[in-house]
Symmetry: C2
Subunit: 351 residues, 2 copies
C-alpha cells in the first residue's frame, strides 16, 4: 500500500522530517546548556516522545494528567505537567502517577498547592514549579511576591519539593521577572533549580531572551503554517501534512476539498480569518478561505493551473497540535514509503 | 455518582432537553408535511438517532461514509449522505453500505456520478440527489442547466435512481432555483421526489422560504450559543453543556477554566472573535475572551460576583457539533440525575 492509495482526508507524518526537527532543537539546547523538555501535546505519540528522549531530551512535558498517564504507560519516567492541577479526584490520579514516575507539577495558587499536598500524602514526593505570567495573561502569578509566597508554601509542605519557576512563552518580561525573583527567593533560602521557559516560534532565541535553563517546546517536532509565518520553519520542515481530495469544482475559481474543521481544526492565523485555514503545497497561490466541518472552500482566483475533481493535495495546517487531537491515528512515511498507521495514543485526553 | 463529582472538563447531555428539542422539530415538520431527516453530525450517537426516528423522522442524514457505517451498524436502515463521494475506495465502501441499508447520496459533478455508478455495479440501487448552491458558495452546482444535466446523467446510469434536489441552507434563493428547475426537469421526464433543504437556525421558517419537502437539521437536537444568538433557541433549550472548573485566578478580573479549544473547538461566533468562545450559565456577564488548547481565559470585568478556584461552571459552546467530535464520550443526565457515559460512536469519522 502506498500513500497515494490511502483514503482522504488523512494526516501524514514524515518521520524523516520529524527526526530532523528533533535533532535541530536538541542541538540548539545542547549548544546553550539548556535542558530540553519537549511538550508532547503536538504529536501525542509515545514513539515520538521516546525519540525525543533518545536524542537527549530531559523528560517530557504534558498539559493534562490523562496525557501523562498515557506516556507513563509507555514507559516514560520523568514528566512535568505544566498546567494547574486542581481538585480531589485529580490529586488521587496525580498520586498514582507519582508512585511510578518522577512527577513535577505547575502551581499558581494556594489551592493548587493543596491539591499537590493531598497527592503527596500518598508518600511519593512531587516537584513544584511556580508559574508566573510573562504578559500572556493566561495562568501564572503576576507578581514576584506571589511567586515567592507560593514557593515558601510549597517548600514548607510535607511531600512537596520546590523546584523552581516556569512561564509561557519565554520573553523579555520573563527575564525581568526572574531577575527580580531570584534575590527574593534566595533571601528566603529557596534556590530554584529549574527556570523553565517555552514556545516553539522563538525557541532558538531563548538564550537571548531570558536566563532559563529548561525549554518546553511542542510544535517544533512537526511545524505548521504559523511556524512558517513566524520565520521559524520552512514548508520543507513541516512533518505533518493533511492529504485531501478535491471533491467538487462548482465554479472555475472554486474547489471544495474533503476536509474542514473536523480535520484541520478551526484555529485562525495571528493575522486573522482572511488568511485562511491552511497552505496547499501543490497550489501555493490557492487559498482555503472558508471551512465548515467537512468542507474546505478553496479560492483558486490567483492560480494559473487549477486542480481537478479527484486530485489529491497536501495541506499544511495553520496549527498542527489540534490536528493531532482530532485524529485517532496518523499515517507515517519515511523517504516516501508508507510505514503504517500509528494510534494517537494521547488524543482527546482533556482530563 | 452524581454529575458534580465527575472530573472536568466533561460534556454533559441533558436527555430531557434533547427529547423536547426532537419533539418540537418533529411537530413543526409534521405540521407542514415536511419529511424530517435529522443530520447526525451534531450528536454522533446511535441512541439519539434512534430516538429521532422513533419520534417520526424519515431516515437520517450523514456527512461521511464513516458516519453512515456507524449508524448502519446500529441498525439504522435509511441513510442520506449529503456530501459528494469521490473515488474508487469510497465507491467500494458505499457499495457495501447499499447492500445492507437504503442509501441516497449527494452529487454535484459527473465525477460524483461515476463514483456512485461504480458502487451501484455491485447490484444495489443507489438514490441520487443533485446538490445545488443557494448562495452558500460551498459544494453544489450553480446553474439549473448543470443540475438538469446531472439529473439526466444519473437517471440514465444503470443502478442509479434520480431522487431529486438538495441544498444547504434553505433560503429564498433555494425557492428561485427550484422554481426554475422543476419545469426543465419535467420537460426531460424527470420528477424530483425529494426537494431537500437544511439548516437549524431558520428551520421553522422552511415552509415560508422554499417548497422543500424534506428538512435536514442537526444542531436543533442540542442547540448552542449560535442558535441562541440567532433567536432559534433559549439557554434552557441547550441540551449539551460543558462542565468545567476554575483552575486559576491570577487577577481579580480574570479566571482560567480547565477547557480550551480541545474541549470547545475554536469556532468563532458570526459576529467575530471578540464575542468569545462560550456562554457561562452561572456567570452570564463573564466572557471567555480567549482560548488556547487547554485554557479558557475568562474576563470577569463585568461580573458583580466572581468565581473562586475550584468552582464548577457550565458552558454553552459557540458551536456544539465540533464539541461532539472532540470527545470520546459524553455524560448523560435526565431530571438532574447522572445516567452514565455514552460513547460518541461516530466521533472522528472523517473518512
Amino acid at each position: 500500500m502506498d500513500i497515494a492509495s490511502l483514503e482522504t482526508p488523512v494526516p501524514v507524518v514524515d518521520l524523516g522530517i520529524a527526526e530532523a526537527n528533533i535533532a535541530r532543537m536538541q542541538a540548539y539546547a545542547d549548544a546553550h546548556g539548556i535542558a530540553l523538555r519537549p511538550h508532547i501535546k503536538t504529536h501525542k505519540l509515545p514513539a515520538l516522545a521516546h525519540r525525543q528522549l533518545e536524542q537527549g531530551a530531559r523528560g517530557i512535558t504534558c498539559q493534562k494528567l490523562g496525557e501523562a498517564e498515557v506516556m507513563a504507560d509507555a514507559g516514560i519516567d520523568d514528566i512535568f505537567i505544566s498546567y494547574p492541577i486542581i481538585g480531589e479526584a485529580k490529586a488521587e490520579r496525580l498520586a498514582a502517577l507519582a508512585a511510578r514516575v518522577k512527577m513535577r507539577v505547575n502551581v499558581d495558587s494556594s489551592a493548587g498547592i493543596e491539591t499537590l499536598a493531598r497527592a503527596a500524602r500518598h508518600g511519593h514526593e512531587i516537584g513544584v514549579v511556580i508559574e508566573f505570567d510573562s504578559g500572556n495573561k493566561r495562568s501564572g502569578v503576576v507578581t514576584v511576591d506571589a511567586a515567592v509566597a507560593l514557593a515558601k508554601q510549597a517548600a514548607a509542605t510535607p511531600g512537596l519539593r520546590f523546584d523552581g519557576l516556569m512561564t509561557y512563552p519565554t520573553s523579555a518580561a520573563s527575564a525581568a521577572f526572574i531577575a527580580e525573583a531570584l534575590p527574593k527567593l534566595r533571601a528566603e533560602g529557596l534556590e530554584p533549580a529549574v527556570l523553565s521557559g517555552g514556545g516553539s516560534p522563538k525557541a532558538v532565541h531563548t538564550h537571548e531572551m531570558a536566563p532559563v535553563n529548561e525549554l518546553r517546546v511542542g510544535t517544533y517536532v512537526y511545524n505548521d503554517r504559523m511556524m512558517v509565518a513566524a520565520g521559524a520553519a520552512g514548508w520543507e520542515d513541516c512533518a505533518l501534512t493533511v492529504h485531501v481530495t478535491v471533491i467538487s469544482r462548482p465554479e472555475d475559481d472554486r474547489a471544495i476539498i474533503d476536509a474542514g474543521s473536523k480535520t484541520f481544526a478551526a484555529d485562525i492565523m495571528p493575522g486573522g480569518q482572511q488568511l485562511g485555514y491552511g497552505h496547499i503545497l501543490e497550489y501555493p497561490d490557492a487559498r482555503i478561505d472558508r471551512i465548515s466541518e467537512e468542507h474546505g472552500m478553496v479560492d483558486l482566483t490567483a492560480c494559473a493551473k487549477k486542480p481537478a475533481i479527484g486530485e489529491r493535495l497536501r495541506v499544511v495546517p495553520n496549527h498542527v497540535c489540534p490536528v493531532s487531537n482530532l485524529h485517532d491515528r496518523v499515517a507515517t512515511v519515511k523517504d516516501g514509503a508508507f510505514l503504517g498507521f500509528v494510534d494517537v495514543a494521547a488524543r482527546g485526553r482533556t482530563l
